[in-house]
């Protein structure tokens, strides 16, 4: 049997998976280094270098047309490059922030970085998949790594609990996810997303829609949409903070990107628009309302990330290319905001309990003591509310405008009202940071002397860079918006010309 045709195709397609390769290889190298030279200093650099290299590669892929590689298994081109950049960037940020944090936690091991890189491989696979199998494999690779990372602080009752919850519910949802795939596959007879749309010339059957619904459940779990969100606050609170940041951004971005691919390529937009709108509504409501009462910042941010998933669902519910590209843009903004916010929290953790018991009050007056961190946090919070001139506002514009044009004005208005509500808890962070002084809080909450005395410069710089990036995105965003839009326009053009 001659398979050489296959191999030459694969060889030719290798550049398409360049970043997956380099990141995966770096992970393997780290595993080896760790095996022989325990906790070697070079490990974070290897990881960071690989991620940076991947990003560099992807930057040049941004403009390329959308194509598929590896026998139509994955997508390449601008869309993939965009979302890979997001995932790789989140990884890089986490690698920069993690060493000092993990050292403080006593967990600065090579495996962590290896898992982070493996996780990134899974995300890239997920976010660029063109078949259901790719989605499944990518998603599971990502999830398994995240389960482990969530349980990194296994000696802490909270750490291991969060890992357990994440794992069990994740596996549970995988069951539904896989079932959904099975039904979709069975009713259409194909695993390829673009072929699915054409499988039903006279309208899809209920079984297919059931499959789609179950698939949505799986995605909903990964992006923590209500009512599949229940794990989110517990896991975010118990996980190591820098990794929480990674979890809440990269995995969400990858899952959303994948969902967008499914929606865009595979589905005729009939019933699902309503479903997404309802999910968006519940998600925004639950996320925002629950966040109101949180006193733990990490938990609050967890609920906030739920709420933001709801906003993105609003864009998806519009079912237009403008909505999808808006969602992609918002993912970028959201990633930067949340990474930064979790980064600030990681730097300000002082009680050694992985932040899960650290209340907001204990951060009273930090903003004035740590001007860079404080200002950055303020930027993140204002951006999360959706204030101009930060990226958050433009992001909100790009997700709500398509929904309005698609006739979902009611949903947009509800979403905007929830944004206003979110102002309450985001502003709370700012006022604690700036307007309260440490002696105004209870003694039990006060910061011990010498806590977070020396901030790592690299971490601070990375956070400040996030803040600046948000400001830039809030003013000069046309380029990015153009990229996200062109991805779909190209694909559209391709799809219409057989």
């Amino acid at each position: 049997m001659d398979l050489s045709g296959y191999f030459s195709t694969m060889w030719a397609d290798l550049p398409a998976i360049f970043s997956m390769l380099i990141v995966g290889l770096a992970g393997l190298v780290i595993v080896l280094v760790e095996a022989f030279r325990n906790k070697h200093r070079s490990i974070p650099y290897i990881a960071g270098g690989a991620l940076a290299l991947g990003m560099l590669w992807e930057v040049f892929q941004l403009g390329t047309p959308s194509e598929t590689a590896f026998f139509d298994q994955i997508r390449t081109g601008g869309y993939a490059a965009y979302i890979n950049l997001l995932v790789l960037g989140a990884g890089l940020f986490t690698v920069i922030l993690s060493p000092p944090y993990l050292r403080r936690m006593g967990r600065n091991y090579g495996e962590v970085y290896a898992l982070l890189l493996f996780c990134t491989v899974g995300m890239i696979m997920l976010a660029t998949s063109n078949t259901l199998i790719s989605i499944f494999v990518g998603l599971e690779t990502m999830s398994v790594c995240l389960y482990i990372l969530a349980g990194l602080l296994r000696d802490d009752a909270g750490g291991i609990e969060s890992a357990f919850k994440y794992f069990l519910l994740g596996a549970f949802s995988t069951g539904f996810f896989l079932y959904g795939m099975a039904l979709m596959y069975g009713t259409t007879g194909t695993m390829y997303l673009p072929e699915m749309a054409g499988a039903f010339p006279d309208g899809a059957t209920p079984l297919f829609w059931t499959g789609v619904g179950l698939l949505l459940v799986g995605f909903g779990f990964k992006v923590s949409a209500a009512p599949f969100h229940m794990w989110t606050p517990d896991v975010y609170q118990g996980s190591p903070t820098t990794l929480t940041g990674y979890m809440s951004t990269a995995s969400k971005a990858a899952a959303f990107a994948s969902l967008i691919l499914v929606l865009f390529f595979a589905l005729p937009p009939e019933q699902w628009s309503l479903v997404l709108a309802v999910l968006a509504l519940i998600t925004m409501a639950v996320g925002n309302i629950m966040a109101l009462r949180q006193n733990n910042v990490k938990r609050m941010l967890a609920y906030s990330s739920i709420a933001h998933a709801g906003y993105i669902f609003v864009a998806l519910a519009s079912g237009t290319t403008a909505g999808y590209s808006g969602a992609l843009f918002y993912l970028l903004v959201y990633t930067i905001m949340n990474l930064g916010a979790f980064g600030v929290l990681a730097l300000l953790e002082w009680d050694g309990k992985a932040g899960r018991e650290q209340t907001l009050d204990s951060l009273a007056g930090v903003g004035l003591k740590r001007p860079v961190l404080g200002a950055s946090m303020a930027v993140f919070m204002f951006s999360l509310i959706g204030f101009p001139p930060f990226g958050g506002f433009i992001g909100k514009y790009f997700i709500f405008a398509p929904a309005v044009s698609a006739g979902l004005t009611w949903l947009v208005i509800i979403g905007l009202l929830f944004s206003a509500l979110s102002g309450y808890y985001y502003l709370r962070v700012i006022y604690v940071f700036y307007m309260q002084s440490a002696d105004e809080v209870e003694a039990a909450q006060q910061v011990p002397a010498g806590a977070f005395s020396n901030l790592p410069a690299a971490s601070t710089a990375a956070i400040a860079a996030c803040a600046v990036l948000l400001l830039v995105l809030g003013i000069a965003f046309t380029g990015v918006a153009g990229v996200t839009e062109s991805l779909f326009v190209q694909a559209e053009a391709m799809a219409t010309t057989p």
Partner: protein
């Protein structure tokens, strides 16, 4: 230099100053830089004022317009578009005038984090100037929100005891309104864009040219009006105001009362009326009634406040009620009066806050019972206070009268309000203003010096005199010579009122044409009901949807 750049210069000069401040080492340098920046901005705005020619029509575009395209992607007509017309020229001037005054008033009042304070103050000024000059709805919204951030910090960090509560309330209250408005902006942008075949547009002139169907107007109007009514604030949405005013540091209060509140009334004139004329006219009596309730209610509450600052704060509720009444009268007189009254209120209430702030700086109390008999120890301050009070109470010959009189006169003859009783009730505000303001004066400045610490109180310093004098002069000048100012605004208000009328008729015609076609099908129905508000996905939006690239077509 291109004169159009002047507008942008006036907007962004403070921002540049704020950035420069951050690099400075000492508090002293920071203060002087802030002062220098604001003065320079004021000078630039004078040049702007000179360059503005009321005789040139602004019917097709503002003067000194500065347009930068390419902010948003292709197909989305959102752009940086600023300019000057009769409606905003005075407000810009007022904003830039208050700039140096506020900096001077904060000179010693602010004793910590100078850098942050002055930088925020300057950013705030950029935001406000931007709000007034923006001719693009989204740009307007951006500036509108931008003002919230600095104000939040100014109240929250340098404010009084309850500063956090006040700051959060201020921001959230405004946010609810403005975010709802954003929904309206998006809808309007698409609707107008579809009508004009450009996809999405928020260019003020494009929106002005677009006649919105009657049903849609109603909910859009209320969404917009709510945002602005909160900002004004219109009764019963006013409760954030006393808290914010009282807790804010003097400079913050002055900005807040002087110009920030005007963003609401300005928004009503600039957007609500011309965009939704039919809805605005239908709602005029309702809003007018609320305004009148606000006038009386604010005045009565002002009378019973023990706190001088709170008294002035409630007086703002009362005074802004006049402006809103004037806006919704739809007559030239009232509209002009409303515009001029915005300026007047900024000057006189700004002055009152400055004076109360001076007292607070000396004695660290705002309660009137802690004062009394100050006229003996601080005669100059007393004189300025009485002048400001009289201006605020609308004494003829001082600025407050001009606006109030024209508003009431115009409202009285308004066929839209058509309710002389309402105007008569509003006029009682004139009596009540005297009641609460004189109460404050006599409690604070007259009587015996009961508190010995008040006896040694220092009279106005040259710095304080310097910052009060321009306001005092303006009070008198604008009282006797308001006409030069009115001339600046007249062409634009005339144009606006004409446009409103034209659009109103056009919308009714359009609605009738629609019912006419229905009537052909069913001749018995003469007056078919108006088309319902297409809030929940309608034909119009469905049509829009088809225009856009939609994967459903595949």
């Amino acid at each position: 230099m291109d004169p159009a750049m002047l507008t942008s210069l006036v907007i962004f000069l403070p921002l540049l100053g704020a950035l420069a401040l951050l690099a400075l080492p000492s508090a002293r340098a920071v203060k002087w830089t802030a002062l220098g920046t604001t003065v320079a901005t004021f000078v630039a705005s004078i040049a702007l004022f000179m360059a503005y020619d009321p005789a040139v029509s602004t019917a097709t575009g503002p003067q000194l317009a500065h347009i930068v395209d390419g902010w948003f992607p292709e197909g989305v007509d959102i752009k940086y578009f600023v300019g000057i017309d009769g409606l905003n020229v005075l407000l810009v001037l007022l904003t830039t005038l208050l700039g140096p005054i506020v900096v001077l008033s904060s000179w010693y009042y602010i004793d910590s984090n100078h850098k942050g304070y002055y930088a925020l103050l300057l950013i705030l000024q950029t935001g406000i100037t931007g709000v007034f000059t923006a001719f693009d709805l989204v740009l307007f919204y951006v500036f509108f929100e931008l003002t919230l951030i600095p104000m939040y910090f100014i109240i929250g960090i340098w404010g009084g005891e309850d500063r956090i509560y006040a700051a959060i309330k201020f921001v959230l209250y405004t946010l609810v309104g403005s975010l709802l408005m954003l929904g309206g902006v998006l809808y309007l942008g698409f609707a107008a864009g579809a009508a004009q075949g450009v996809g999405f547009t928020t260019d003020w002139y494009n929106l002005l040219a677009y006649t919105i169907p009657l049903g849609t107007q109603t909910w859009l109007f209320f969404v917009f009006a709510l945002a602005f009514a909160i900002k004004v604030p219109l009764f019963p949405l006013h409760t954030w105001l006393p808290d914010a005013h009282v807790q804010a540091p003097t400079g913050g209060s002055v900005i807040l009362a002087g110009v920030l509140l005007k963003m609401g009334t300005y928004g009503l004139i600039r957007f609500c009326l011309p965009f939704f004329p039919n809805a605005a006219q239908s709602a005029a009596v309702l809003i007018g009634a609320l305004a009148v309730i606000g006038i009386i209610y604010g005045a009565l509450l002002a009378r019973v406040q023990p706190d001088a600052k709170k008294l002035v704060a409630y007086s703002s509720v009362s005074h802004l009620g006049f402006v809103v009444l004037g806006i919704f009268a739809f007559t030239t007189e009232a509209m002009q009066g409303a515009v001029i009254q915005m300026i007047n209120h900024g000057i006189s209430t700004g002055a009152l806050f400055l004076l109360v702030g001076m007292l607070y700086e000396r004695r660290h109390t705002r309660l009137m019972k802690d004062y009394g008999g100050l006229a003996t120890s601080v005669p100059i301050l007393t004189t300025f206070m009485i002048l400001s009070v009289l201006a605020s109470a609308g004494l003829p010959g001082l600025n407050g009268f001009v606006g109030e009189f024209m508003i009431l006169l115009g409202a009285f003859k308004s066929t839209v309000l058509d309710s002389p009783m309402l105007v008569a009730l509003a006029t009682t505000g004139v009596i009540l203003a005297a009641v609460y303001l004189l109460h404050m004066v006599s409690q604070t400045f007259f009587g015996e010096l009961t508190h010995p610490e008040n006896a040694e109180m220092e009279d106005m310093t040259p710095r304080e005199f310097l910052l009060m004098a321009p306001l005092a002069v303006l009070m008198i000048v604008m009282g006797f010579f308001p006409q030069p100012f009115l001339n600046q605004t007249a062409p634009t208000t005339d144009f606006l009122l004409e446009t409103i009328e034209t659009k109103r008729v056009a919308a009714i015609d359009a609605a009738e044409a629609q019912t006419g076609t229905q009537a052909l099908a069913a001749p018995s129905t003469q007056a078919a009901p108006e088309t319902p508000a297409p809030l929940f996905g309608t034909d119009a939006s469905a049509a829009l949807r088809n225009d856009l690239i939609d994967i459903s077509s595949r």
